[in-house]
Amino acid sequence: MIRQFGSGEFLFLLEGARWTVVLSLLAFFFGGMLGLAVALGRTGKWKWLRILTATYIQIFQGTPLLVQLFFVYFGLPLLGFKVDVWVALTIGLSLHTSAFLGEIWRGSIQAVPDGQSEAARALGIGYMHRMVDVVLPQAFRIGLPATISFLVNLIKGTALAALLGMTELTRSGQLMANITFQPLQVYGAVALIYFIICVPLTYCSARIERRLNTAR
């Protein structure tokens, strides 16, 4: 007896979508924190740190996400960590995120006019306060549209978790397609769910970008 693709099956896909969202948020959170460090290192005053972070970014931008995930997945056990696939995926996606957000935020930090940090320095404000109170709030505004676009890319990127066997949205789709033999409907529904998750973010990002452009 072959199951038909109906509302129960759609609910199964939504169960999977929950893990897509959780994985994206985890990777965005950890990747964002590390990404801030990368961006600060990339714009800091130490040359060796600038070169190191630039190389880090280059490596992640120059290799496929899939290879990065495999690398972490197979690499962690070598370092003596026996981890679940979802832990490996969170780590892999976070590292990926940190490199891309690091590069986006480097651009936004450098887009803040030099006069701002010069003025802060002239007032004797130290690095910490200069960054937290003067430069970063302005950089945040500039970098927001690109950051949200990257979040969309990240959500789409979590689909690769399916290839490592984690049951998120795409993997649920694979399983469901195998049960129902209706790949067209199933993958159509999977695409629709991704679309519904991503479109508001894309719209938001475009709207903020337009507002920033007219504000200037």
């Binding site: 280059q58 490596i59 290799t63 496929p64 399916a162 067209l184 695409a191 679309f195």
Partner: protein, 222 residues
């Protein structure tokens, strides 16, 4: 950490890795050419005065840009046979990447066309040129020139994305690496090598395409 690295099985498999590199380049360059052509069609639809054409183009572009390429290729590879169209892994990969690339290329090229001053279009119209001729003879080259770096990044992105096509058994680099992995179990060494190869390829293309661009678009623009 007590693991002995052994790259010999990886290095011994260089002919299949080379096949993989060729497969990756074949698929990504074909998809780029088809995708760019289709993308220009979508771009012109997107910018046309006809509301229906514009709606179709926007719908298509947003649909592609807000869904993962992995789901798109699954849709093509597993879904098409249900419609009676049977595709090989590589055909499905090229089709999916073309459809994907078209949406991104349409937006990139649109940015280029919008950077052309309206006076250029008006001059063409004043000379009695047809809209297509205005694009072909006046707008196109400076528009592509303006977005050439973005198109290069798009190509590199496609090349990296083609690694996903191993999941529909298209014979590209990652596919051969996975085959090798299942034969030798040298996962770490294999994926390390794989990363180095992809990194080298993306660095190479970012430099080479930049040089080609400088030569091809070196006419005085002002």
């Amino acid at each position: 950490m007590n693991y002995t690295f052994d790259f010999t099985p990886v290095l011994a498999a260089w002919p299949s890795l080379l096949d993989g590199i060729i497969g990756t380049l074949r698929m990504s360059s074909l998809s780029m050419v088809f995708g760019l052509s289709l993308g220009i069609v979508f771009m012109m639809m997107r910018m046309s005065k006809n509301k229906a054409l514009r709606a179709i183009a926007i719908g298509y572009i947003e649909l592609i840009r807000n869904t993962p390429i992995l789901v798109q290729v699954f849709f093509v590879f597993f879904g098409m046979p249900a419609l009676g169209i049977r595709l090989s892994g590589e055909q499905a990969a090229i089709l999916a990447m073309t459809l994907n690339c078209a949406a991104y290329a349409a937006e990139i090229v649109r940015g280029g066309v919008q950077s052309i001053r309206p006076g250029q279009f008006e001059a063409g119209r004043a000379l009695g040129m047809h809209a297509i001729d205005i694009y072909r003879f006046i707008v196109f080259r400076p528009a592509i020139r303006a977005v050439y770096p973005a198109l290069c990044s798009q190509f590199i992105l496609m090349m990296l994305n083609s690694s996903l096509m191993s999941s529909v058994s298209a014979e590209e680099l990652t596919y051969f690496a996975q085959t090798l992995d299942s034969q030798t179990f040298r996962s770490f060494e294999i994926y390390l090598t794989l990363g180095v190869i992809y990194l080298a390829m993306s660095q190479f293309f970012s430099i080479a395409l930049g040089m080609i661009g400088r030569v091809y678009f070196s006419y005085p623009a002002k």
